[in-house]
Symmetry: C2
Subunit: 210 residues, 2 copies
């Protein structure tokens, strides 16, 4: 039976790093941006559009078309969004059934719950979060060279991205994003070193699925 770890994560909490290292530690496939590519391949929609939608930037499109009072266009956009959501569900289920893997974001915890309940996979759902100060520090420390955002701009960006993630998750799952009842483990990285904790998280998962 395949073993799957899903990682929900607040922007700036190090969730992606934790997921990547965990996949490496467990010898599992790692899926993050690959999900967008797979959806693009399945739907033939533009990559930028797919990425915007599953990053929760729905408002960009809806407000634009609603502003034009073109109902047909709104219907079309909604249809495209539904296509993306359907493709995302299929892609993630396929990944989980193909091999052991770690899947970052994209409502994978919600999408795969049924598969676990049916006995199809072993699932471990992690949510990674951190205090606001810690998230800001991480973003400053890891800012790409040449990105000269002020602290105020960074705080605003972190809030915006987390709001978009929450909005997409909640629209899609009708569950509250980050609500601990939807996860097996919630990890606050504010006081922890991700690299050092990953081997023990891996052991915890192995115990939970043994």
């Amino acid at each position: 039976m395949n073993r799957v770890v899903t990682i929900g994560r607040e922007f700036g909490s190090g969730g992606r790093e934790l997921g990547f290292r965990l996949a490496e530690q467990l010898g599992f496939h790692y899926y993050d941006k690959e999900i967008v590519t797979a959806i693009v391949n399945n739907t033939e929609l533009a990559e930028g559009f797919v990425k915007d939608i599953i990053d929760g930037k729905t408002h960009r499109y809806l407000s634009l078309t609603i502003g034009q009072s073109m109902n047909l266009s709104v219907d079309y956009q909604i249809h495209q969004m539904q296509t993306i959501i359907k493709a995302q569900t299929e892609v993630i289920k396929e990944m989980a059934q193909k091999s052991d893997c770690v899947i970052v974001g994209r409502c994978a915890d919600y999408i795969l719950k049924d598969l676990r309940d049916e006995g199809g996979i072993e699932l471990f759902r992690i949510f990674v979060y951190a205090d606001p100060e810690s998230r800001l520090k991480r973003c400053i420390d890891r800012a790409p060279k040449g990105e000269n955002m002020t602290e105020k701009e960074l705080v605003k960006q972190i809030k915006r991205i987390n709001k978009e993630r929450a909005s997409y998750y909640e629209d899609y799952t009708l569950q509250k994003w980050g609500d601990k009842s939807n996860y097996d483990l919630c990890v606050n990285t504010s006081f922890m070193n991700i690299e050092e904790m990953v081997p023990h998280l891996a052991k915890l998962f192995e115990k939970s699925s043994s």
Copy 2:
């Protein structure tokens, strides 16, 4: 520097077992009911009364005295509750400063946060929770001999105790009970074997405080 693990827990989630086993694994002191005894010794109030208050059964006393329209009595009860809360804060800080320990419940995560921020202790705040079905199953499996509660009565009891814990925590800390932002790790025991996971949780804590 002393190392302290605090355990917040939903009734029926196995939080006490997790705390006890973790203390054993780490070789730390374990404090649970001992906190009530220490408060009783410090305040000379009746043990039953102290226990009721810190278990969140405040309403028993307030509604009783309010029903009698005796404002003086209400004032007296409130004064006694404040005495207990003050004593609880002192007792828990003393325990944390005396030796490495695991403290179960009693708002210890909140009480000790300042000590960590001041660099006085190393603190790891765990919240243990579980799905309603899993909590019910645990309560059925571990019911004392001779306790013949129906499933319906057990569900009601679990809800009532968790409501009381939440109410006490929230009155005392002005924070939401079980809100993951107040903890370093939230563990859902629904799909995990506590005994098997404890050694890895201990390692996780050792890494976080190394």
